[in-house]
Symmetry: C2
Subunit: 343 residues, 2 copies
């Protein structure tokens, strides 16, 4: 899943360069990193990307190792239920008995071998139990930006049933969840048999899968565009996972980050050792906890703490790490002022 157009990494991310096309965790783009990780799990022909029309060219450039037809282009963004349905329908044609892994293209994973082991385990559980399997991430903080999973009774293969899904909590609820017992973050990584997810999509979100199925049978771009115009915007979580009865969770054994904002970059760049997370040439005096993404110019800081400074050829961002989510306010302001060239 390489859709969406993150605004939280402005000024690096722009309408034409969303987060998954940024080299933000490593020197390669998040999408390229994701494709590299997937290589140990699936052949190029069995690797599919769903992306939006405005990023198709850039995504294809990153996906040169894949058959051209494996980049599925959505005429418009319609959330993850539609993206999963489109991929599942397409995959069912060539591998109706297949097992499908769904991965966001814009996450950072710390340990590829552990990542691979967890996903192999999840696929085994998906085949053995015919459940929808989600990967649960061990929470490290009372995060309010993620959904949580209450872990249920154990299943075979080291998996657990899902007792219930908990929507993004407020801070007090997140804290009590962490104290209360066995909860995991819902990281948006899934494994399931193609037939199982299609059956669940048909049951819970027929208004999503129906029009897409019809359009794929007609096989024209126009038909797909008409279908997407009618499809409701529903996430795979609220649309299917939270309603389906046969759901399982497998614990991630790898370090995981959804790289949610510039603040999250600190951990990826710094490795927890240095006082500041810095890319490019910078001079920092009496400064700690900062994230500095210097472009071609020298960035000099004196006496600042926990500040994000991002320097690009045409725009510069300065904000406290604690306000990193509010970078979207800048993007909104630029839209209001019709400063299109910075969007």
């Amino acid at each position: 899943m390489a859709g969406g157009s993150g605004t939280r990494f402005w000024p690096r991310s722009r309408q034409r360069v969303p987060k998954q096309l940024l080299a933000i965790a490593t020197r390669k783009t998040l999408l390229a990193d994701t494709l590299a990780r997937v290589r140990s799990l699936a052949t190029p022909r069995a690797t599919w990307i769903v992306t939006g029309a405005s990023h198709a060219t850039a995504v294809r450039r990153e996906a040169r190792g894949l058959p051209r037809g494996n980049v599925l282009v959505e005429p418009q963004g319609r959330n993850t239920a539609a993206a999963v349905a489109l991929a599942a329908l397409r995959i069912a044609r060539t591998a109706p008995d297949g097992v499908m892994i769904v991965l966001p293209a814009d996450h950072a994973i710390g340990d590829v071998a552990a990542f691979r082991a967890t996903l192999v385990q999840a696929m085994d559980v998906a085949v053995a139990t015919d459940r929808l399997v989600t990967i649960g991430i061990a929470p490290t903080r009372p995060e309010t930006g993620y959904g949580y999973i209450q872990v249920g009774e154990p299943l075979d293969g080291g998996a657990h049933a899902v007792a219930r899904f908990i929507e993004k909590p407020d801070l007090a609820r997140a804290q009590s969840l962490l104290e209360g017992g066995d909860v995991l973050w819902n990281g948006g990584i899934f494994a399931w048999r193609v037939e199982r997810i299609l059956a669940e999509l048909r049951r819970w979100t027929p208004d999503v899968v129906g029009p897409l199925e019809h359009a794929l049978k007609r096989g024209t771009a126009r038909a797909l565009a008409q279908a997407y115009a009618r499809v409701p915007s529903v996430s795979i979580d609220t649309g299917v996972m939270e309603r389906a009865e046969r759901v399982a969770v497998v614990r991630a054994t790898f370090p995981w980050s959804d790289v949610g904002s510039w603040a999250a970059v600190a951990d990826l760049w710094r490795n927890g050792h240095e006082a500041n997370a810095v890319r490019g040439s910078a001079v920092l005096v009496d400064s700690t906890g900062c994230v500095v993404d210097a472009g071609s110019r020298l960035v000099a800081l004196v006496g600042v703490e926990d500040l994000v400074v991002v320097d690009t050829p045409d725009a510069l961002l300065v904000c406290p790490k604690g306000r990193a989510q509010d970078v979207r306010l800048i993007v909104e302001e630029l839209r209001r002022r019709k400063l299109q060239r910075y969007l």
Copy 2:
């Protein structure tokens, strides 16, 4: 006096572009503003600039209205006693009976008519009393960066004797000075008869004026260089003003700023009305008290307070307004790292 090479306005100020050559208070350089103000007080032939060898070309460009010989070039910087002595010796040749005004080239003055009136008054006092006259600035805060003047008994012409000069105080002392009574800041602006200042220089700083007088008699650049190599670095304040007996002070009636750092720029740009002092194109969201000098790029701030952000083609500065004096630490660090191109 257009010498010195301010580092506190880095990255705008560089070795080749010191503060007086920056357009920092208005759209013109501080030197050009100073020359424009002086035009109402002196003819071009009676206007002299003392500057350093490394800035002579740039200074002459700003001083096109002046005879070329009126730009006096010091072979090396030797503080203000030497600069004043050089100018006084040179002026004495053409106008031995003249009255001399000494002005730093890098101050910002809010009201040119009031500035002119104060200086005319100071010249009148200098002629009438044959005292060394300094302009006293009414303090607006317990500043620790300036010397203070204790005002003495009244003299004719609205002037006062100087009871004593007080060197840069610490904060507690500065506060008690403000509470204690009639003190003024020593702004470094002077008026005196040329003969009087030369007499005082000869009396109090013969090791400064002696070698210079000798060199000017010989009239070669080499002689001047040799003299400057021997001259001690003494300010006109500690060298002469604080020792001389016949000193007077005239109160400034104009808004004054020595534009000591980026923090001081806030008052000059903002006029006290807006939440932030901004030059160039910037988008500020939930931000107050900031000084933003944007170059050709967009500067975007979210959720920051009292921050200085200066954007130049090759370097960028971010520091709290309260640390604006410490910009020199960056310059020192650049020197240590031999990053010559940013100096």
